[in-house]
């Protein structure tokens, strides 16, 4: 069998997508479907005096209107993070007596078509009294109006973590550098917004929810609890999901509400989020303002790092809102030996949409802090930024490497990635060219980031709801292979990469494998796709399930071949009495179903053979007339893989920019990224993940920012105002790779979904700062707009 793993295998999910025949939630049509639209708060903080729905109820096509009092029995929107002393506001699916952010759902209008529902929104009269608003996170921490009077202040939690005596470390340093660092709020903007279709069968008392989510099983558990339906009567299906980036790693008010409304009306109901709703009421990412202090010796050795950060949580806690800054704390050692590290988090309520996991989820913030701090050290000491990084790396033979944030990095060779990136870009020459350019008055900047990230989330000890992943692999009577994965991919391509793993391990053709995911009615319980975990944890579950399946097949093969297990070898899809020399033989043919009478299973022709294909074993296992004693019929295995550690991918990104002295325009000249994500299953998919991640980073560095005004009004409420990177904004990305396998799983894979968003931002900002070094610039806040640069150049 040809080896699929490691090859650029074209995606098996693509034909339906490129033909326009795939089904996202809104593409699923059920007869008699009613449509839901939401009245959302236009105030950031207000008391609701009254809601008049009478006119809306009489509008053409309107079937029902629900407000907060109707849904008081639905449980609160859940937060899964349990931090000590955490204050948790009561987050109802429709606002009760107050609203706390612009976009908060107040009423649900149900109508016969989406246009009628939208029309009726304008007829719902909400009488508000506006209340004082808290927008700025540092102001929220220091006092000002209190959002939740019961809590006494706006601080949701405080947390301090880290190892080593940071005060002593900084006191003993030759230099201590300080910098305020802003990680602006971002909108994830999956191209498909959220959407829910719910159908309740009153006779069977069964509810099905189609939702654009990353976590069908976790959502099933939570929604069942919220609306009081037994979990085994609720089925969650994620059809095609048009991107997530963490924004669909959540349980939202609308998901529970749609299920509940369908139960009230005994009809299918659908809600498809509009883009304005998406930017208002789907979680935001980042939203931290922090103060870093880094200590170093005169020779560049880092002695300690402290980060005091104010996390802008928003008005409510969504599923993982308070946990995101803790991930920042974990990764503050970056790819360096830092003997003492301390993070002090102050999580604050503001009158804004919640922040939560957005691609990278707390780790881009950490990397940005550490990498910017390393640049400050380099500038202070006059050492090349690449060299100050190199001299603080743990060596390749120092892994597993323990950090002062309490982690044990699994494996790494940071210097190899740095060397490769420097070679690819011609670093030494580039610095000479920069010197020459500066002499000519040109503003050429070089930025570098040597990042490490935490992936394959994660051991269950470190996760709120289990960190394992599940897989079932079965070979059907006709020899087709079905893989059920608890991971729920949404664009990453695991239908292909998991089939690659299965094809190699079973010695069958890739096209005989179907990977099924995202349906709690079919797939065993799983956790989901997020935190760069699907392949490292979910792929490993597939791999080990196959080993279990093969073990059983091996016993059956020995029985049929009338020999003992030790005398049977498996290779190239065949079980044989003697070990086959040719392990790359053509794949085992599928049992010729055509030879069997219509409607009957083919007879296993096993008599007198010295070799059997795994498909022949599968058929024999289902016919079950020739099985060893005490062997269960069928050929299927399930495995729940619990990882013992996270994985830690790493790499080096180097960026070259040139700034236009007249306009402040930032032009990319080169972008080199060397990423090490462990063993690679499909290089084409890995490249795609890196490209996408880097470009989201570039969006944060240069364009993207969720802006609320001082009244808490969302200024960037549509794609007219929220600037996403477009094709013309992107430099050609030159990718390289090193491959350091992870010892954490048998595949040796680490994860790559978030690498680009973690490694790229500091390199891009670093390059701009470097270009502006002649103007005395040492740091700039994101997004770095041409206007910012122009003001520096012109001194205005």
């Amino acid at each position: 069998m040809a080896n699929y793993v490691g090859q650029r295998v074209k995606r098996t999910e693509d034909p339906r997508l490129i033909k326009g025949l795939a089904h996202y939630v809104d593409d699923i049509r059920l007869p008699d479907t009613l449509h839901v639209a939401f009245v959302r708060s236009v105030y950031a903080h207000a008391r609701i005096n009254s809601i008049d729905i009478s006119e809306a109820l009489n509008a053409p096509g309107v079937v029902a209107v629900y407000t907060g009092k109707d849904v008081a029995k639905i449980g609160p929107v859940p937060c899964a993070s349990a931090l000590p002393g955490l204050k948790v506001p009561d987050y109802r699916v429709l606002a009760q007596d107050k609203v706390y952010f612009v976009g908060q759902p107040i009423a649900a209008v149900v109508a016969r078509d989406a246009y009628a529902a939208r029309d009726a929104l304008d007829l719902v009269m909400v009488d508000y009294d506006d209340l004082p608003v808290v927008v700025d996170v540092e102001a929220a921490a220091k006092g000002g109006p209190v959002i939740y009077e019961d809590f006494g202040d706006n601080i949701a939690y405080k947390l301090t973590a880290g190892e080593g005596d940071i005060d002593a470390a900084l006191a003993a340093s030759d230099h201590v550098l300080k910098q305020r660092i802003v990680h602006q709020r971002l909108a994830p903007v999956a191209m498909e917004g959220r959407g829910v279709l719910a159908r309740y069968f009153p006779g069977e008392e069964e509810l099905t929810l189609w939702s654009s989510t990353q976590i069908p099983h976790l959502m099933r558990t939570q929604v069942a609890l919220m609306i009081g339906i037994p979990e085994n009567k609720l089925r969650v299906i994620t059809p095609e999901v048009g991107g997530g980036f963490g924004s669909k790693l959540n349980v939202y008010a609308e998901e529970a509400l749609l299920g509940w409304i369908s139960m009230q009306l005994a009809k299918p109901v659908k809600w498809i989020e509009g883009r304005r709703e998406n930017i208002q009421a789907t979680i935001h990412g980042r939203g931290q303002v922090g103060y870093v202090e880094i200590g170093c010796k005169n020779d560049g050795t880092i002695t300690g790092l402290r980060y005091d950060v104010f996390a802008d949580l928003g008005a409510y806690l969504q599923l993982l809102t308070p946990a995101i800054p803790t991930l920042t704390g974990l990764m503050l050692s970056g790819s360096y030996k830092i003997p003492a590290i301390q993070i002090n988090v102050t999580g604050c309520f503001t009158n804004k949409m919640s922040t939560d996991a957005y691609r990278g989820a707390g780790r881009p913030e950490a990397t940005y802090v550490v990498e910017r701090a390393m640049d400050l050290v380099a500038a202070e000491l006059g050492i090349d930024p690449a060299e100050v990084r190199r001299q603080n790396f743990p060596r390749a033979d120092e892994f597993p490497f323990h950090t002062a944030t309490g982690l044990d990095y699994d494996s790494g060779d940071y210097e190899a990635a740095l060397n490769k990136a420097q070679a690819m870009i011609g670093y030494a020459e580039l610095r000479k060219e920069q010197k020459k350019a500066r002499a000519e008055g040109r503003l050429l900047g070089i930025g570098i980031s040597t990042y490490v990230e935490i992936c394959a989330l994660g051991p269950s000890q470190a996760m709120p709801a289990g960190g394992w992943e599940s897989a079932t692999v079965r070979i059907e009577p006709t020899g087709k292979v079905t893989v059920l994965t608890g991971a729920s991919p949404h664009g990453q391509g695991q239908e292909t990469s998991f089939a690659q793993i299965a094809a190699d391990e079973l010695g069958v053709d890739l096209n005989d494998i179907t990977v099924i995911h995202g349906d709690t009615g079919i797939v065993q319980y799983g956790i989901g796709t997020f935190g760069s975990r699907a392949t490292a944890v979910g792929g490993t579950a597939v791999f080990i399930a196959i080993q279990k399946l093969k073990e059983k097949a091996h016993k059956i093969a020995a029985h049929i071949l009338k020999t003992d297990v030790a005398s049977v070898a498996f290779a190239g899809g065949h079980f044989s009495r003697a070990a086959r020399a040719d392990t790359t033989a053509a794949s085992a043919p599928v049992v010729p179903v055509g030879e069997a009478p219509a409607g009957a299973l083919p007879e296993p022709h096993t008599e007198g053979k010295s070799s059997l294909t795994i498909q022949e074993i599968a058929l024999a296992a289902h016919i079950a007339r020739e099985l060893p004693p005490d062997t269960e019929p069928g050929l299927s295995a399930t495995y729940f893989f619990e990882p013992k550690n996270f994985t830690f991918p790493f790499g080096t990104h180097i960026v070259v920019v040139e700034i236009d002295k007249e306009t402040g325009d930032i032009k990319f000249l080169r972008y080199v990224a060397v990423d090490d994500c462990g063993k690679v299953i499909n290089p084409m998919l890995v490249d795609g993940q890196l490209h996408g991640g880097i470009v989201q980073s570039l969006g944060q560095a240069l364009f993207e920012e969720v802006v609320y005004d001082e009244q808490g009004q969302l200024v960037t409420g549509s794609l007219m105002d929220y600037a996403l990177p477009r094709a013309t904004h992107i430099p050609w990305l030159e990718l390289g790779r090193t491959e350091t396998p992870s010892p954490v799983n048998p595949l040796g894979v680490k994860g790559v979904g978030e690498a680009g968003t973690i490694g790229a931002t500091p390199a891009i900002v670093g390059a701009i700062v470097d270009a502006l070094a002649p103007y005395g610039v040492k740091h700039l806040d994101m997004p770095v707009k041409p206007e910012t640069v122009w003001r520096i150049l012109k001194g205005r």
Binding site: K10, R11, E13, D14, P15, L17, I18, K19, G20, L21, A22, H23, Y24, D26, D27, R29, Y115, V189, A190, M191, E192, E240, V241, G242, G243, F245, G274, R275, R276, H490, G491, Q492, G493, M684, L685, D687, G688, L690, H691, G692, G693, I694, V695, Q696, S718, L719, M720, L724, P725, R726, A727, T728, I730, W732, L733, G756
Partner: protein, 156 residues
């Protein structure tokens, strides 16, 4: 008051009475059941809803169905010919020009128009030609390669 409209969609003649305010994309998706055309922003900024109207790539989320009365419309579902993928569809598959696939139909339509107008576009020209279409997954590089692939195969 409803208006009678007729148009050819993917070579099939269609006649319906629709509300004058019905958007063309909703006509295609909800009346004709052609759900391959997606809606991504409702403000003509993302291009997910791109289709051909009388041979011109248009964003169908900001055009009314009644404005397409009498027109010849092609959607992503009409791109295959004789059971064969359009070279642009093949290009996207070969070069991994899609991940979640949501922007893909609109991207394929816009890119097809691009190479119809310029059979041998440079990478900069491809990027410029796709500026009206947003993709959040791919970072565009594989899309640029997909368009190059399709352009090469279309030239023969």
């Amino acid at each position: 008051m409803k208006r009678a409209i007729s148009m050819s969609v993917n070579g099939v003649s269609q006649q319906h009475e629709v509300e004058p305010r019905l958007l063309l994309v909703h006509y295609l998706r909800d009346v004709l059941g052609l759900t391959g055309t997606h809606i991504g922003c409702e403000t003509s900024l993302c291009g997910a809803c791109t289709i051909f109207v009388d041979g011109q790539a248009v964003k169908s989320c900001t055009m009314l169905a009644v404005q397409a009365d009498g027109a010849e419309v092609t959607t992503i579902e009409g791109m295959m010919k004789d059971g064969q993928l359009h070279p642009m569809q093949t290009g996207f598959w070969e070069c991994h020009g899609l991940q979640c696939g949501y922007c893909t139909p609109g991207m394929i339509m816009a890119a097809t128009q691009l190479i119809d107008r310029n059979a041998n576009p440079s990478r900069a020209e491809i990027r410029h030609g796709l500026e009206g279409n947003l993709c959040r997954c791919t970072g565009y590089q594989h899309i640029v390669e997909a368009v190059e692939h399709a352009a090469k195969n279309s030239r023969g």
